[in-house]
Symmetry: C2
Subunit: 346 residues, 2 copies
């Protein structure tokens, strides 16, 4: 078990970076939360997935996610749609089709009812668009200054699509790494709204449900090894999690990475790495080499996968490591981000 | 549909009382949240239950609850145990046995890691005591002043106990109203800690799981009509919800109500009504008269039901109304509380 060197030194307090999906998040989970839950030791060596299989013997999967994005409304979406799509996607990354959602709201006293109504309407519309009912909910209100407008926690229950069993631990040597669409869009869209960056135009969040894209990959069956939606921590965090859980070495071609021009420009100006920026509407898939062409064709048959590309492969090399082959032919280690680059991005 | 008179007049903003489980909460739900979710009209006339049956044809039930109790630690419990027990109990009130829990944390930057560890340890212990695994989780961190230390949202999935189908809408004329134990304890315990009321001693929260108490009632089968744990809004809110959903008239004997001496004393000093104070470890049951004696015997066979008593019955009279027969023989309407008496009690 990890000896928790980092959290303990910072005055023994929770830092913003503990929630950013990077190394600090992983350490908080491994060193404090899982052991405190009584899941230390052997259990922590199990791969951490986006969703857990229920002990019901009938392929049910469950996932939960808290959303604290600031601001509540941003180009291309809002916290309501984000919550629904994020939860649907966590189920989808385990190869599951969503059956039902629950929603719990924590509201700061003084939030405008019009804002609340807009968020809940958007949430309802996103659930309807994804074809999944909201079956239960809860509402709490806390005093002014004890929350920041609105937090939304969604939980999803889904059922495994027959034949699919993707897992962060199932990627293997020879796999092709596919990406369903451009990266960096969501994070830059939220940041541009939050910081009033007038120079960032034409960037809207990619928040969308991905379960139909996963469904369309069902013919791949067991050849579909791993799925992950690169949200907090970006593509770099997802690839590192998969490389660690599967004990594999991943090589990514920088040239092949789809980074839209406005995203690249904004990241350069702000000193951000697009590989660390959160996405909410694309996924990375590890598939056996022999089905990579089929997988790309299937993904491209849907709008949400129209720009799907191959970005790398699993090769020989030190396991647990992700390497970027740069445009000029150099190779650099693509590390797990440490803490927050962009807090409260989802 | 309700015309939403109250929320709209108060400057169109969310009030603390909207989260208190009383009339304002019900109006926010009926007038804004359910219609915005696309569940207006016919759907809102369905009774609101503590947990929803999943569309899976196999008796699965799901519930979600956000916990924002302040302070995090109080006599008899903390936010971690409260979250687990509250969610187990919401499943139990639908006659379901818990199968799995998920936990989502929203943490304020600066929370002591020792406090976080204490809460998560208590949460894990409560889940273990209830015999239900925590299968998925999520952690978010927000900046200082954007939350109040820690919010916990738990979601539970359970399976119906064969033969049981309790519902807020199934109480009927002639039913006996049973209460599994003393009321007012949790609310007074939290308040005494929050407000540093030195004169309140010997009051510890009753937070505990009630699924075993429900399991022990399985022999009653269809004669067990309704179960509810009177949390926010207290016994008065639960009885009014049941009276409304079942279109029945409920009479309660004040004399029979088990209000512990320290709770009665604290409520008198503070101007609170024990019938409006939240509970976290007792339940109210509506059962057919012919099984009332059996039900009490079964409940009393477990520690959590040792003090079970009959407190009233369903009689002729205006439906949707709850009446209290007072000690001096008068009858007064026991109304739904309007808004917050004790905010952030759970």
């Amino acid at each position: 078990m990890i000896d928790c060197p980092l959290p303990r030194v910072e005055d023994d307090r929770v830092l913003l970076g503990h929630g950013a999906g990077g190394r600090l998040s992983a350490e908080l989970l491994d060193a404090l939360i899982l052991p405190a839950l009584g899941r230390g030791g052997a259990a922590t060596s199990a791969p951490l997935e986006d969703a857990a299989v229920l002990p019901t013997d009938d392929g049910l999967v469950v996932t939960t996610d808290g959303f604290v994005v600031s601001p509540l409304f941003f180009p291309g979406g809002d916290i309501g749609a984000l919550a629904v799509n994020g939860t649907v996607n966590d189920l989808a990354m385990r190869g599951a089709h969503p059956l039902a959602l629950t929603v719990a709201l924590v509201i700061e006293e003084g939030l405008g009812l019009a804002d609340l109504e807009a968020v809940v309407t958007s949430l309802g519309k996103a659930a309807n668009d994804a074809g999944v009912p909201v079956v239960a909910g809860d509402t709490k209100v806390v005093g002014r200054g004890h929350a920041d407008k609105l937090f939304v926690t969604t939980t999803g229950v889904g059922r495994r699509i027959p034949g699919l069993d993707p897992s962060a631990a199932r990627a293997r040597r020879g796999d092709r790494v596919l990406l369903s669409g451009p990266i960096g869009v969501h994070g830059v869209a939220v940041l541009s709204e939050r910081e009033n960056l007038g120079f960032v135009t034409d960037v809207a969040s990619d928040t969308r449900p991905l379960h139909r894209l996963v469904q369309t990959l069902a013919p791949l069956g067991g050849h579909l090894h791993t799925l992950r939606d690169p949200t907090r921590g970006g593509l770099a965090a997802s690839l590192n999690e998969i490389a660690g859980a599967s004990r594999i070495h991943v090589e990514i071609d920088e040239e092949s990475l789809p980074v839209p021009e406005p995203v690249a420009g904004a990241c350069e100006l702000l000193g951000l790495d697009p590989l660390h920026v959160a996405n909410e509407g694309c996924m990375v898939a590890f598939v056996a080499a022999e089905v990579a062409g089929d997988a790309l064709r299937l993904m491209r048959s849907l709008p949400e996968g129209a720009d799907a590309v191959a970005v790398g492969e699993v090769t020989d090399g030190p396991p647990g490591r992700v390497v970027l082959r740069t445009l000029v032919g150099a190779r650099r280690v693509l590390d797990m981000p440490l803490g927050e680059q962009l807090p409260r991005i989802c």
